[in-house]
Symmetry: D2
Subunit: 362 residues, 4 copies
């Protein structure tokens, strides 16, 4: 079983994470961290912050000479921009915390609820930690888990299926190799196997950018070659679908998750199940994957298929709110310019699922 905690504020000095529970001798390279974080920062329509985020991981413990040693892995991503924020974010002796005040809560964010929960008089500290910036370190700490899965022959893909109302045309009966090839050739800006949708998404994003609008979307993550029997039916909280759903839904802006084609299946009356085959050499196999790789809360040998639904980021347009001091109608400051972050979300979803699966296998 793995455990991990993350820490760090969006404009604080650093993000950190500790991951505990992986066995020794898993091979990991510095570039495994670098490449994944670069992928997370890519995405057409992402804002300027992504250029500030250089996101260089420093490994502090748990890995020696490119291999895990069984001890907790700790990592740090320094915020290269901290100098510009330390007057109100320094742990001790901040010059002027008041310049960091956020007096107009942003609807759709944690701002108002968080402020009330913790008794703050402005939204700064909520905004700092509730920010999706936290997913950078969560993505980074998935790297050792991903390398563990790789060492077991498990691979995975993440992709964007829709941005706004425009849905890509993806053939999910394609082989892993075909999907991988298409994803690579189409690049990290859109993370989709459907090259035809790309110009349409581009136009849509450009248009929304002009109008200060943002876009949601959906994506799919697939894990291949999982052993049969991860998770269990014996107790409700050991079911792997529950654990995966929790991990995916804990990502900011993700509001829906399904295993297999859940919404489609729910409308069907043909009782679609995955017929069982048997072959003397290969043992049992399935003829289809309606169940998305999970039956009875366990992996069944088919690819694990997870879809997520993301709401538009609540940040670009002018949205009516209330000034906490004057109690009058006011508009939150423009603070972020991502038109879409579905590409980024797809990477994060793959990351948190990798952590869950590795957790089941350790």
């Amino acid at each position: 079983m793995l455990r991990y905690l993350t820490a760090g504020e969006s404009h604080g000095s650093a993000l950190t994470a500790i991951l505990e529970g992986l066995p020794p001798n898993i091979e990991i390279r510095q570039e495994d961290f670098d490449n994944l974080l670069k992928k997370r920062l890519a995405g057409y329509g992402r804002g300027n912050r992504t250029k500030i985020e250089s996101d260089k991981v420093e490994v502090l413990s748990g890995i020696v000479n490119g291999k895990t040693i069984g001890s907790p892995i700790s990592i740090i991503i320094r915020n290269s921009d901290f100098e510009n924020h330390k007057d109100y974010m320094a742990p001790f002796g901040a010059a002027n915390v008041d310049i960091g005040r956020i007096d107009i809560p942003l609807p759709g964010h944690a701002d108002l609820a968080g402020m009330i929960k913790y008794g703050f008089d402005n939204c700064r500290y909520v905004r700092e930690r509730a920010s999706a910036r936290e997913t950078a370190i969560r993505t980074a700490i998935s790297v050792p888990a991903r390398c563990f899965l790789k060492s077991k022959g498990i691979s995975s893909l993440c992709m964007v299926e829709s941005i706004g109302e425009l849905k890509a045309n993806i053939n999910f009966d394609s082989s892993e190799e075909d999907l991988k090839r298409l994803l690579i050739s189409n690049g990290d800006d859109f993370l989709t196997p459907d090259s035809d949708i790309i110009p349409k998404w581009k136009s849509l994003i450009d248009e929304c950018k002009k109008q200060n609008q943002s876009l949601g979307g959906s994506g799919v993550v697939i894990f291949y070659n999982l052993p049969i029997g991860l998770g269990s039916y014996v107790e409700y909280d050991k079911r792997l679908d529950g654990k995966i759903a929790a991990a995916v839904m804990s990502i900011p802006a993700i509001k829906g998750v399904e295993i297999g084609n859940a919404t489609e299946l729910s409308k069907n009356r043909n009782n679609l199940v995955d017929k069982i085959n048997y072959n003397k050499d290969k043992g049992f196999s399935r003829q289809s994957n309606y169940a998305g790789g999970l039956e009875g809360g366990m992996t069944n040998g088919q690819p694990l298929f997870v879809r997520f639904y993301m709401k538009p980021l609540p940040s670009n347009s002018k949205v009516e709110s209330i000034d906490l001091i004057t109690k009058k109608i006011a508009y939150p400051k423009y603070y972020r310019s991502d038109v879409q972050a579905v590409t980024s979300a797809a990477v994060v979803v793959e990351s948190v699922i990798a952590l869950e699966i590795a957790s089941e296998m350790t």
Copy 2:
């Protein structure tokens, strides 16, 4: 924080549960258990098993004279039919376990994966525990949590939104009172506020029954009057949306979950967020509920709105499988006759969310 464990096999002597963490002095009545379990067993198109399941809860501890006493609550539901199964299910001295063998795994169930995971040579013990029968005790153990929520002024509704391809017409802008009134007047057979859909669902279910088909569907659960700030953004696994998603997805046959109108929001580009109002007397409020009551992983004062998607039960039609002994194509025995169980699922979803919310509040 609440903890609970459930135990029991579908044809074993009893189901039990222990729930730990509730404060003393919560009022509970025997009929609170009886009524809820009756509601779970209702549903047009449910099979004969529901008539066998009398589901009488006996409270063994933790409640004295109709009030909790702070100690763990334990309950038992005896299986009135155990006599007919004890030859192969008795804990000690079973007369003939072989008569209980299930040699043809049912695709769509835990059968095959569970058997492989645990090294069984047939599917009996998997079927016994992976059965949705377990949700009877999980529903029952939600009763003390529900009574706790009630004592805090929190109420809830559960309803069916679609069965198969037929979707009810529900006005979610209706007040709690209006929804409740419609639900009561339409009865527990369909658990829906839309009386017009009922005859259509009836026909559909009747038709599927004749054809030995089963139906999935979707449903909605709403909690009202939650305090602001349940859950937290500070660590990924404290976000309430993740916890709720885990609980809902741990229910057999549920394959999708969303908070608010996630799939709709994901397509939207109008940046729909819930504008903030302020009133000197009532404080902050919202103009809408696109977020489904959760922002930043916390309750925001609006009703919590959760939708679930359920696949058709994999049990009524003939489905190709493999005989574990002969390794030849074979067809699982007909074993259950529910055409739909979406009504039942709605009750269970409401139950597990009640447990999660109560857990946040204790």
Copy 3:
């Protein structure tokens, strides 16, 4: 990893427990429960309650035909005496809860602190659950864990080392076989390998009984044939010594625990460690067991040696207290007549350690 919860009040209808996490196919017999509970009830100087406690375990789930099936194991011990207490302990419709009031808290028990913590106006509900009666079900639920350990070739002993100021003369360099033989020949009344101490303990207990005094003591539990490497040093809460200490200290009246001869070692300056031998056939071994079988929070292949210290039961003599209603000095009602329960404690300590070790191995 194992999880278990227990439930039940001392004078309620039943004690129950659920244990989750054991693999299938562990052999268990009904008499394994019966024999262990009988041993827990034995002990010279125990009171009349032990005659009321028939302590018959009924297995409700998780075991079929004498073998575990991987599902949660649930058990129940009905309180045969419940009829005499249900007027104030019935879950619903208790005839007269007031006759159960305990208005004079017993110092040394949970009474006063528990009452204040939970806001009760008398001590009944605290007394009911804080009672060492709970250890009956904890002992019972250790049986499947013990059977699991047995299936792995692991065995254990529990014994009393001292009662009051009288310490047995035990040669801990004796083999497991020799200790076992002595323990069996000396019987369950004193659970000690030293037959010479028995008449002295008898006199001491008899004398204390006359004077309405009670006695504490100490005992030792040893586990043999543990694999090397249970527990871990990688994170503080994975150290097995910590887990064992927690389990042992969670038993009522036990106030001290040590691994190996901790108090003796702490005084030593000869740097006593367990020298390492190597033999081509048998691999590494140790020349001694000063560490009590644990180094760096892990088993090291030597027997696990745990000593516990128990305070006298706070129940037999007149102890000054306060009447909750009059707020005047008063004396708690005599309610129990155990002069010593060190024998019983030794069985319980062995039980909770068995659960911890099995948890490490699953």
Copy 4:
């Protein structure tokens, strides 16, 4: 509830920790970290390593301008000596890991068991993480918990009671103020209220140093002004004595723990309990503290009194072992020169208990 994880190797680049669960607005100063770590490093008879360990804490998150903000607190202690070890400890591209090999396991350490558990071919990585160096970061991460307790009016003391066979003469009936005054006047080298014992301990340590021997000892930690009812009797693992025992026993070299005068009480037959007083203004109080502040697994309003027993460090003398390569008798390299670390242990014990108590209160 608090959660924390620590990470870091003894000769790695840094130690880190993340602590999650504290409320906002707790006041913390940089010097709170500095002073506590300095105290942990003090102690007469400690070795040269303590001079290398400058132990400067950098706060990375969770604290802004001297106050907690509710978010996870993360800290880092850089190892100033890392340059000298990076050839075999660097996370990537270590120049020569072989120069770090430890081929002769040190008995009394985790070396051999850890190596076998994790499948290493030498003891380096076990030694790195199992080292008591880890307690530096655990001590540091207790600082926010200590500040939280301070904000609630809770204070604490830690002291050494015995070193080797020499026991200090401490009057535990002294007031907190008196004990504190004596501790301060006697200094951090011995952390004891008994000034008369100091010259004797000094001689003993000096003598042992010459003979390359090391010393164990015992110590006491007391917490004052705890609210009544922390912990609970309702479930075995909620008892505070168990949690405290686990925390204390998870510290390297600590092999015994007791609450109150457990070993003394166990020999007593006078049924010593803490009589209850009542005073109209002050409510309930106790006449004594035999129970060490815990009854029924809960705080009872009296000071919490915890004693620990530490074995001698297994490191100074020549101890017979086996060379892993030649399989012949060999002697571990001299690697550390602490004659005693009981002073340090006392600080760490106080730290982990502070974390447990704060966890109960959040």
